[in-house]
Amino acid sequence: MTLFRNVVFIAAIAGLVAGVVLACMQAYATVPLILKAEVYEQAGGGHTHDHGLAPAAPGSNAVSSAVPAEAATAQEEGWAPADGFERFAFNVVANVVTGIGFALILVAASEFAGGIGNWRQGVFWGFAGFAVFTLAPNLGLPPELPAMPTADLAQRQIWWTATVVATAAGLGLLAFRKSLPLALLAVALIVAPHIFGAPQPDSFESPIPEGLHHQFVVAVTLTNLVFWLVLGAVVGLVRGRLTGTATGLRENLA
């Protein structure tokens, strides 16, 4: 299992670095917009989703009569990290863990194609990851803020997954098969999920201002772009060092 161990090692380092970078970017670019949207969400009532209200509720008698209702909602939705540092810390953990997950997929896929040799190749592989996991699914399902109207969650998750798989297959065919029919099939695969169409909400009426949402879409797209470029580049660097020492050793022994 040397290969598996090496893949996990590279993915762990790349995921850790890129995940921390992404979490820091999110703290400035996307999370403040989510917090703003939650103000609209709470003002609108309805489906709330309150973080940090659970710990605030007991003993805070000074707060208005709205508290019991909010506490009840928080109870219904189960445990949630408290606002502030705890919420930030959980976001960092989520970023690092999924960063390693994305890195495992990226490293495994690139090894099938011969491996990422250096940081520049890594940047291109990272860009492919960005196209597959961010650009393609977000065309049909733009990043949403809390309180925005959405279609059924399970249906959106199925569409998201299918789009990612189809786009990855399409890009792979385009990059690694040199035949015109397969290239045409690749384009069809990339386009198909969007012709089929993402599940849409019944009504687009939203308490979230259009400007805030637009800002959020831009922030999500750019932070993800940087994340994927860093992820690919670090994979290339670490893999280069690993194989570099391996060949160096081989040359020394020869």
Partner: protein, 59 residues
Amino acid sequence: MNTASVSLGASVSSQSRFVQLALAAFLGVFVMGFVGFSHIDAIHNAAHDYRHSMGFPCH
């Protein structure tokens, strides 16, 4: 696209190579799916900002 001339774990057979890479990719998909797509409330709440910030389907 250029590919690297040196591969990781060069000594393993192609079948074992496939299994190990597939295993790594599967592990990655599982980790991503658990954090990003799990319907368990506590997981959803912990990774809430992350899911929104990645454009994952949420709520």
